[in-house]
């Protein structure tokens, strides 16, 4: 056990010299069932929000409903794109498409049915929001949602785009 602990300690201490966090390449599905690799997520050099949510998660829906009301303005001002990753499994997956349409959301949506992408991103619980800069680096993340959190997120986006 000692050798392992020592080795990991060394690694953790030296993480500062390692690369910043980027988006891992994990296959997810789009709403038609096509496979999509998350390594290809991009927004032409503009920032992206990656948000993990589920149809059974009430605070997730509150967050995405709140952002939906201002999403037009956010896009116009900063060019930001929101990618909503549903972790709904086979139980509730068939609800995702009618639900997002019924909610009039304009987000880019993918389904992470067995939580492979969630695991790779180190997400404990939903909602969990990542802000990715134009170069593909994760510059900020936030777990949980309280009303008003979207303002902090938007401040960070504006800081990134210099607006």
């Amino acid at each position: 056990m000692k050798s392992l602990a020592l080795c990991l300690l060394l690694l953790i201490v030296s993480t500062a010299s390692f690369a910043q966090k980027t988006i891992p390449a994990i296959p997810v599905k789009d709403l038609q069932g096509h496979t999509f690799n998350t390594g290809e997520l991009n927004n032409d050099g503009k920032p992206m929000i990656i948000n993990f949510w589920a149809t059974w998660c009430a605070p997730c829906k509150r967050e995405l409903n709140t952002i939906a009301e201002v999403y037009d303005e956010w896009q116009k001002e900063t060019g930001v794109k929101l990618i909503a990753i549903s972790i709904d499994d086979a139980r509730s997956q068939s609800r995702v498409l009618p639900f997002i349409n019924g909610s009039s959301w304009e987000y880019e949506i993918y389904i992470d049915a067995n939580q492979d992408f969630k695991r790779a991103m180190g997400v404990n619980n939903v909602p969990h929001t990542f802000l990715v800069d134009g170069n593909g680096y994760v510059v900020w993340q936030h777990n949980n949602y309280s009303p008003g959190d979207e303002e902090e997120l938007y401040d960070k986006i504006r800081a990134l785009t210099g607006k």
Partner: protein
């Protein structure tokens, strides 16, 4: 975990990290991970028969560390249960501290190989889904090899071979069975590309999975190899989408399927029934901006598929059979959660979502959202066979033919409205039929499953008051009315948040007019602090006996009183 294994893992991590950077400036790759710690302090409370373990405290937690460098990645998870909280996990005990998961993976465009632990899902999971839910305490990861190839555009083939996690005892403990499987998914639209035009988008797929478990019985000639397969399709055309899957298993006697029919005492119930399994799941949706409907029909007959014949109801599941009912998140609705009956059920669900636009007749100035759903789950028609002494099929279960018994039914509807810039409100109603003799998800104050069928109505009013840019008050008033089980409940939830860091909540669930004429309050107070991706929360109060469910399965949680602390973080 032996000393040799530790050194091997350390050496492996060392190898992928160090050699190339000694002389050249190169990308060293990246680390990421997350951890969670849950602590609980138990206090005695005789009024609700609260449990107090001998240690009086419980501590469980895990930490994942992932490393990625180009096409190579590796990961490891430390877990600790000293001891696990009472009634956690759902199945076989997890104890001690050690490594519960480790893998190495190489993946490129058309080839991907993983050795060690992995999670995988074929189709909707009806024949194979190995998954984890740490909150619930399930981990069905496979430990072996998985290869994924993409031989041609639109085609993906997965093959896997491994043993399955059974429990945790100072480290990962695999069960005795072996799981082998192969899956093909074909995206017809992508494969044909411009060669041939088909309207819409079509995906098809198929899987075959087989499990092996040695027969140690001297009395019964159990099948050592049991196969299972599935075929599925998904078709989208403009606003329509249609999806379906058919799955089967071979004759699969197990501890679980001996309960399909009453077995007379002269026939050993431990032998199970020697029945093949069948299941069909169909879904159709139509949706456009502001409107969506979805219809689901599903039926199962003897579809439990576990890598160990004698596994308990929560252990060693190879497949995943999701319940058709919708998971409601309101506290009182969780008194009656449905769990799939793998031995057989016939279920239907319809749901509707509608967004009345701003400035429309019903939408008013700010719009109005409406959704509703109806679910009905019944026993399948079962024809008894008098063959327990010979072929031991025991019964014939008809797909999509309902029997007499209703297992579960619910109708619910919800209206949500933004009243003003400061205030949002919603109203929820649910009518519920819940057969606890079959589902066994409702418990009384002696921590025993209640008898009979529960008929309940529930109403919730939820309000959200935005005090200013960062301060917010959210509240729920919930009422549940029933003449069965513990009878009527009233519950109040108040949650005050100061974005982005603080939350405070107070909850009380009040049970009144129950059969003994007693009143019970279940108050809980919580506070939490959130900083970026880390969260710490403390709660103190009474927890009622009940069931904690995620996805398809539920774990029984006994009544408790005390303090809990949760810490989560990602990096």
């Amino acid at each position: 975990m032996t000393r040799f294994q530790n050194i091997a893992i350390a050496a492996f991590i060392w190898l992928i990290v160090t050699p190339h950077n000694l002389f050249a400036q190169e990308d060293l790759g990246q680390f990421s991970g997350n951890f969670q710690i849950d602590g609980q302090l138990y206090r005695p409370d005789t009024a609700i028969n609260a449990v107090v373990p001998p240690e009086k405290m419980a501590l469980s937690g895990f930490g994942n560390l992932l490393y990625t460098r180009g096409k190579l990645s590796g990961g490891i998870r430390f877990e600790t249960y000293i001891p696990a909280p009472v009634a956690y996990p759902a199945g076989a005990k997890w104890t001690g501290t050690g490594i519960g998961y480790r893998f190495a993976r190489y993946s490129e465009e058309s080839f991907d190989i993983t050795v060690g632990n992995f999670y995988e899902q074929f189709g909707s999971g009806m024949v194979l889904r190995t998954w984890e839910d740490r909150g619930l305490g399930v981990d069905y990861s496979l430990d072996g090899v998985r290869v994924i190839t993409k031989p041609y555009r639109g085609i993906s083939i997965t093959a896997l071979y491994g043993k399955q996690r059974f429990n945790f005892n100072n480290g990962l403990v695999n069960g005795g069975g072996i799981v082998r499987g192969v899956n093909a998914d074909i995206d017809i639209s992508e494969m044909l590309d411009s060669l041939m035009f088909i309207p819409g988008q079509l995906m098809i797929g198929g899987s075959f999975v087989s499990k092996y478990e040695r027969n140690t019985s001297s009395q019964f000639d159990y099948p050592e190899n049991v196969g299972a397969g599935s075929l599925r399709m998904k078709y989208s055309l403009r606003n329509f989408q249609l999806a379906g899957e058919y799955a089967f298993t071979g004759e699969n006697p197990s501890r679980l399927n001996s309960q399909i029919i009453p077995i007379p005492p002269d026939q050993d119930p431990g032998v199970g029934l020697w029945l093949p399994g069948n299941g069909i799941n169909l879904n159709a949706t139509y949706s456009q901006k502001g409107f969506g409907i979805s219809l689901t029909a599903s039926t199962l007959a003897n579809m439990s598929f576990q890598s160990e014949r004698n596994a308990g109801p929560f252990d060693s599941w190879i497949n995943y059979l999701p319940p058709t009912s919708i998971l409601q998140t309101y506290l009182l609705a969780q008194l009656y959660p449905y769990a799939t009956q793998p031995n057989g059920e016939v279920s239907y669900r319809g749901e509707l979502y509608y967004h009345f636009k701003k400035e429309s007749l019903l939408g008013g100035a700010t719009g109005l959202k409406f959704d509703m759903s109806f679910t009905q789950i019944k026993q399948p028609r079962i024809t008894m066979l008098d063959d327990l002494g010979t072929t031991r099929n025991g019964a014939e279960i008809s797909l999509f033919r309902s029997g007499e018994l209703t297992y579960y039914a619910d109708f619910n509807a919800k209206l949500s409205k933004t009243i003003s810039k400061k205030f949002k409100a919603s109203l929820f109603y649910m009518n519920l039929v819940y057969n606890n003799d079959v589902i066994q998800g409702a418990y009384d104050f002696n921590n025993e499953a209640a008898k009979g069928t529960v008929y309940a109505d529930m109403i919730v009013f939820e309000g959200n008051l935005k005090v200013n840019r960062t301060n917010n008050l959210r509240f729920e008033i919930q009422a549940l009315f029933t003449d069965q089980h513990l009878q009527d409940w009233l519950s109040v939830v108040a949650e005050y948040t100061v974005s982005p860091h603080w939350f405070f909540s107070a909850i009380n669930q009040y049970n009144y007019g129950n059969a003994d004429g007693d009143f019970f309050n279940f108050p809980v107070g919580s506070l939490g602090y959130i900083k970026d991706s880390s969260r710490i929360s403390l709660s103190y109060g009474r927890q009622r006996a009940g069931v904690f469910c995620v996805g398809g399965i539920c774990r029984v949680v006994p009544a408790a009183n005390g303090l809990t602390i949760n810490i989560t973080s990602s990096f």
